[in-house]
């Protein structure tokens, strides 16, 4: 967080040129997806430099992690990313499992995949709706939110919470599927898949929308790798890389799905429209995964939800685990030194690195396109600040 509010000392020696203006955007601007602030120097409508100012939602999750027991930290991980909380749960659980060498039962792994993919659709729905709204189309947002509401209801039925789930456990998950739940989700999927086709007609393939986003803020594959972009943002730049495929963690190798990448259909590869459409396609792939996982979960015995845990969780050592969250590669690095609390708990999140890129990417953009760029990166403020 920076104390600089405005620096409009014009004409002085060494100050900004005559025709430049410093503009403050945020921290409560509606398109900043949480509490974010930008200090922008502009020349008319064109940005010379946009400096992000983050930290408003910093809660020092990593320090909290050093003070809680390993399993006691799980509810806090929800707060790393409140739109897609399931993934931070999974990252923490996988890191601890890797550290202590715990095996997760198959059924629990399927439950993790199901809960995560539902959450991924929910998170992408917010991203897509909010992005459309940020560039001026209001209708898609309630459409997307309506579908997300079903997902929230499903997850509430599964674990009792709508946003901060605390569903995964070290070694497994906390609850099995409620009776009739799988059929309900499948019925919803029957409805959801045609809705995604409608969503294309409504917004993704809309002429005005394409003209607004195509060729805006193009991120090349080289830039994306260099700046450490991950997940949909990286794939939109044409890099076919998804941890679910590359690492094949959990039961993803048993499931059949594609990894959508940006193809530059209406402009250069890696423009804002590509980043939008990669998420649309990922929703379809997640629906595909869900159908398979809901079928395959029956092959594994019920109530086999927790692996064999050590009597006392006092590991000595370190491990780094990665999972593919809705915002890409989420890493969790945990160091234990024989105590009940972790010695160090670190989260590496996709929004943080995406946000770091904006300062370098912004010069030359129109002010209105900055909003499109932020929205297309799908940054979530608590994931940046943690």
């Amino acid at each position: 967080m920076s104390q600089v509010i405005f620096s409009v000392d014009r004409g002085g020696a060494g100050s900004e040129p005559e025709d430049e203006m410093t503009l403050n955007m945020g921290p409560h601007h509606p398109s900043t997806h949480g509490v974010l602030r930008f200090v922008i120097s502009t020349d008319g409508e064109i940005i010379r430099k946009a400096v992000p100012d983050v930290g408003y939602l910093h809660r020092s999750i990593e320090k909290i992690g050093e003070r809680c027991t390993y399993s006691g930290f799980m509810p806090y991980t929800d707060r790393v990313d409140y739109i897609a909380a399931m993934f931070a749960n999974e990252a923490w659980a996988s890191a601890c499992e890797k550290l202590m060498g715990i095996e997760v039962p198959k059924r629990a792994q399927y439950l993790r995949v199901i809960s995560c993919e539902l959450n991924r659709i929910g998170s992408h729905m917010i991203a897509l709706g909010a992005m459309a709204m940020d560039v001026g189309a209001v209708t898609p947002f309630p459409w997307a939110l309506r579908e997300r509401e079903y997902i929230n209801d499903f997850i509430e039925e599964l674990c009792g919470a709508r946003l901060t789930f605390n569903y995964h456990r070290i070694g497994g998950v906390s609850f099995d599927l409620p009776a009739g739940w799988a059929d309900k989700v499948k019925r919803w999927l029957d409805r959801f898949e045609p809705i995604m086709v409608e969503f294309d007609r409504l917004i993704s393939l809309n002429d005005i929308f394409i003209k607004r986003l195509a060729n805006v803020a193009v991120v090349t594959a080289e830039e994306a790798k260099d700046w450490g972009l991950v997940g949909p943002n990286l794939r939109a730049s044409g890099v076919k890389w998804d941890l679910r495929k590359e690492d094949g963690y959990s039961v993803y190798p048993e499931l059949d799905f594609d990894v959508p990448v940006g193809r530059g259909r209406y402009g250069a590869v890696g423009d804002c429209w590509d980043r939008f459409y990669v998420r649309v396609e990922e929703c379809r792939e997640s629906a595909k995964i869900l159908r398979q996982a809901l079928d395959k979960i029956d092959e594994h015995p019920e109530d086999d939800l927790l692996g064999k845990l050590p009597k006392k969780m006092r590991p000595d050592g370190e491990a780094y685990a990665r999972i593919e969250s809705a915002r890409g590669d989420m890493g969790c690095y945990v160091i234990g030194r024989g105590a009940e609390e972790a010695y160090r708990a670190r989260f590496r999140t996709g929004s943080f690195t995406a946000m770091a890129m904006i300062e370098a990417k912004s010069p030359g953009l129109f002010l209105a396109d900055l909003v499109a760029l932020i929205a297309s990166f799908d940054v979530v403020a608590p994931e940046i600040d943690r």
Binding site: G228, G317, Y333, A356
Partner: protein, 182 residues
């Protein structure tokens, strides 16, 4: 190439004082790691990125860890190669009194904010960093909270940082049993 082979190749190329102390995968270290001399990190990382057989193009994560008992602050680098699908972990041990090391911004742009975060929360100075300011905490914050000996102040600009436990506040005071008896 396994991390061990990468380690040997680095030693052969850059000398045994550039990288040393290899820890292979074990029950303790779930990812293999090795130490890198802080003053040589730029050479090592340039080589990791540029050498075609290594091609490490993705800096995943920079973590700072404070070890007061060793009098060290350790900066851990997790690095990945998209082309070769390999990962390595480097650790740089810095003096805890004045932790400083060269920046890697010229090698991977992704280092920019991660180093700023490490500076902010642990006080590691990355020399040559273009914009080494606090990132998450306010500019006038004192101290580095992820250090083990950091003590929270009672207030920040008159805003109290502690509050009474609400459970304590609303606890119903029961009459003393002794008083009842007598």
């Amino acid at each position: 190439m396994t991390p061990e082979e990468i380690f040997q190749a680095l030693q052969a190329k850059l000398g045994e004082d550039a990288v040393f102390d290899l820890h292979p995968v074990s029950a303790k270290d779930r990812d293999a790691w090795f130490q890198v001399a802080p003053e040589k990190i730029l050479t090592v990382c340039h080589h990791l990125r540029e050498a075609p057989e290594l091609d490490f193009d993705y800096l995943e994560c920079i973590t700072g860890v404070d070890y007061p008992d060793l009098k060290k602050i350790v900066v851990v680098y997790h690095i990945y190669s998209y082309a070769k699908k390999r990962r390595i972990v480097l650790k740089a041990f810095l003096d805890r009194e004045s932790p400083a090391m060269p920046t890697l911004v010229d090698v991977w742009s992704a280092a920019n904010w991660q180093e700023r975060e490490c500076f902010d929360l642990l006080g590691v100075r990355f020399e040559g960093h273009p914009d080494l300011r606090r990132l998450l905490l306010p500019d006038d914050w004192e101290g580095h909270p992820l250090r083990k000996d950091w003590q929270e102040k009672a207030d920040y600009h008159g805003i109290p940082t502690q509050r009474p436990n609400p459970v304590e506040l609303f606890k119903i005071k029961l009459p003393k049993k002794d008083a009842e008896a007598s």
